[in-house]
């Protein structure tokens, strides 16, 4: 067992009193909600397809399109020039129907994978919902990925269809087409009558697509979504999610985001990552609220204007963005009428207590941090509107979710005896955060990697890889990652992927990649590089290697810092000791080095 970390006492508890709120929170009494919760009740509240079966797209769109909510704005896009494009639930149902119909006419079968490489454009939302209606599987890719991460994911996910733009296709996919034989169709959203070679004009085809008819009646355990994530070693992992996940999207949207039918909701996450899908598309649509989508990148002034002009009531954003806003100053927020805002939440990485508290000054509301992962499919641990906040804590488990702290041995592995994991019951004692397996949005596998999937579980618990502690009142506190995965701007970056790309550079013999603290992004990627004989370390070479990596991996994944080293520290078995690189980079004690390779 590892030493306990003293509880943070510097930040006073933010006490909540919701009696004066005009909107009654969905979760008023945490203990009672946990005691009475059942997933089956949540499934009943949604109901499924009238003819039987389930489909996320039905719950998200068609159900509302057939109700008195049909004319309500489902999506409200803020375009680059600030103009607004609204799509009602009825229009979104029709658009997605046509997309489903197009997939059928292209011969796409149930279970086949439709990928997107897009920014937050209207076509993306149509594609997600249309794919689900057809019973195919949707996999979004982050549009800032370079060609290499794109190729790898299209290949691992066996993409049959890719929806993208002309520019992104030219930059990142066209040259790889011959390496991707499974990719039968590339649909360009902006072909404008002149698709590139081997691509199709999405808009023209959609316009001709006949009505789809009855949407696919799926089984709850049928695959719906595929989200790639990164581990310490090896290739990216495709986390498989099923149609029943919508049950969790619904329940967590209700409790953790407090969504009410009249809300105007804005999730700033990019749909290339799981938050942008689960909470940027599915959860708000299932709740029938109006979702604001900003097609542009973050800019403080623009964001405040959107919050004010769109009268956003519930806002779900990320620590990196909040830290940038905090840097710009609370006065900027106060210059706008943010009086509609009633709930602010954050996810992606632990939110510093300073920012939680700053929310009160800037928005009149503290920021509610919550915790989850690609694998969990939905929010698992959260701060709630009605619950006192302990700044710096991720909050308490959602109703229906059982969390625990699992003891770790000296090597960092979970302690398992006779098939049972040893749970830590003492408060404020660090261990690995674990969740009792079996909630609806839990991943059902890593695509084609059964062994890797099984390793995530022990004794009926999903082991999250995050280190945490629980205080005596049941609030969870994030401590750190249990592995070498880097978290930059809320995105997980696998060091191995970056190292592999660096080693393709002519001058690089070996590379070790870690995350170093950054005041805005949480962490940024830093590479330590050992050069091949005959190459001299220089500033020009440093920039050349960084540029090389950016071209392959994209800005979000490539190292932002690079240092040459005569020899990387390694274990006797030859594994790079990233832990030691990190200790050196941060000037920390290097700890036990007894497994170091001799002579290094």
């Amino acid at each position: 067992m590892e030493a306990s970390t003293p509880a943070s006492t510097r930040w006073p508890v933010i006490a909540k009193d919701v009696t004066a709120d005009t909107v009654t929170p969905n979760l008023l009494d945490y203990d009672r909600a946990c005691a009475t919760f059942s997933w089956d009740d949540e499934r009943l509240a949604l109901g499924g397809l009238p003819e039987g079966g389930v489909n996320i797209a039905y719950e998200a769109v068609d159900r509302h399109a057939k109700s008195e909510r049909a004319g309500r704005d489902a999506l409200r896009f803020v375009r680059a020039d600030g103009s607004i494009l609204s799509r009602s639930y009825a229009a979104l149902a029709d658009d997605s129907d046509r997309f489903a119909s197009l997939l059928r006419s292209l011969g796409v079968q149930r279970g086949e994978r439709v990928f997107s490489l897009l920014g937050r454009s209207p076509a993306l939302y149509t594609a997600v919902l249309g794919t689900l209606k057809h019973g195919a599987v949707f996999c979004p890719l982050f549009s800032a990925f370079g060609p290499e991460p794109v190729r790898q994911r299209l290949e691992l996910g066996a993409a049959s269809v890719l929806v993208t733009t002309r520019t992104l296709y030219r930059r990142k996919v066209a040259a790889l087409r011959s390496e991707l034989p499974a990719l039968r169709h590339v649909l360009l959203i902006d072909a404008d009558g002149e698709p590139e070679r081997d691509t199709l004009d999405l808009e023209a085809l959609i316009a001709e697509a006949p009505p789809y008819g009855a949407i696919a009646a799926m089984q709850p355990e049928d695959m719906a979504l595929l989200h790639f994530t990164s581990g310490t070693t090896g290739r990216p992992k495709g986390a498989v999610h099923v149609h029943d996940a919508v049950t969790a999207h619904y329940a967590t949207g209700r409790f953790a985001l407090d969504l009410h039918p009249d809300d105007v909701y804005w999730c700033t996450a990019d749909p290339g990552w799981v938050t942008g899908t689960s909470y940027g598309i599915i959860a708000p649509l299932v709740h029938g609220v109006t979702t604001v989508v900003d097609e542009e990148d973050m800019d403080a002034e623009r964001w405040y204007r959107i919050l004010a002009e769109q009268k956003v009531t519930v806002w779900y954003t990320a620590p990196t963005a909040l830290r940038m806003l905090m840097k710009a100053g609370a006065a900027r927020a106060k210059a706008h009428d943010l009086s509609s805002l009633r709930f602010v939440a954050s996810v992606g990485e632990p939110l510093n207590p300073e920012v939680v508290v700053w929310g009160q000054e800037a928005f009149g509301h503290p920021i509610h941090d919550n915790w989850w992962q690609t694998e969990t499919g939905g929010i698992m641990i959260s701060n709630y509107l009605s619950m006192d906040i302990r700044p710096g804590s991720m909050g308490r488990p959602l109703p229906g979710i059982e969390a625990a702290i699992v003891a770790r041995d000296d090597t960092g592995a979970p302690v398992v005896r006779a098939g049972h994991v040893e749970l830590v019951s003492d408060p404020d004692t660090m261990g690995e955060l674990a969740l009792r397996a079996g909630w609806p949005s839990m991943f059902r596998g890593y695509l084609n990697e059964e062994e890797r999937y099984r390793k995530c579980f022990a004794g009926g618990w999903y082991l999250t890889g995050d280190l945490a502690r629980r205080d005596e009142d049941g609030y969870y506190w994030f401590v750190g990652r249990g592995d070498d995965v880097i978290k930059s701007s809320g995105h997980l970056i696998g060091p191995f992927e970056v190292e592999s790309s660096l080693m393709e550079h002519d001058a690089v013999a070996e590379a070790g990649v870690i995350g170093v603290p950054d005041s805005v992004a949480g962490e940024v990627v830093k590479a330590f590089v050992e050069l091949k004989p005959g190459f001299e370390a220089s500033d020009a070479l440093r920039l050349d290697i960084i540029g090389f990596a950016r071209k392959r991996l994209g800005a979000a994944v490539a190292p932002r810092e690079l240092e040459f080293t005569p020899a990387l520290p390694k274990t006797r078995s030859g594994k790079i000791l990233r832990r030691l690189l990190k200790a050196r980079a941060l000037g920390l004690p290097e700890g036990d080095t007894s497994t170091l390779e001799a002579g290094r």
Binding site: A144, D297, M298, D299, A300, E301, R302, T320, M324, K327, A328, G329, R332, S488, S489, D518, V520, A521, V524, L543, D544, I546, G547, F548, R550, K551, G554, A555, A556, R560
Partner: protein, 80 residues
């Protein structure tokens, strides 16, 4: 600092932050995000870099205007 010097400083800063960009043959009308594919962290680093090399520190409210290489050059020239 005149336009010429500002241009040299901006190109040097872009090269440092995003060495994948060919600054020798850079169209000044290139947009930082869409064309050069700088992300928001790159952008912040670019401004930090320019603050060091030119002494021009950019208040946050001016960020939104600095969308292209040319606009950044003008800005640095005007504020140095």
């Amino acid at each position: 600092m005149n336009e010429h010097e500002a241009r040299a400083a901006v190109l040097a800063a872009i090269h440092e932050v995003a060495p994948d960009v060919n600054t020798e043959r850079l169209d000044a009308n290139s947009r930082l995000r869409q064309d050069l594919e700088l992300d928001s962290l790159d952008f912040l680093r670019l401004l930090e870099n320019l603050a060091q090399s030119t002494g021009v520190s950019t208040p946050e409210e001016d960020y939104a205007d600095l969308t292209s290489v040319q606009r950044l050059i003008h800005y640095i020239a005007a504020h140095s």
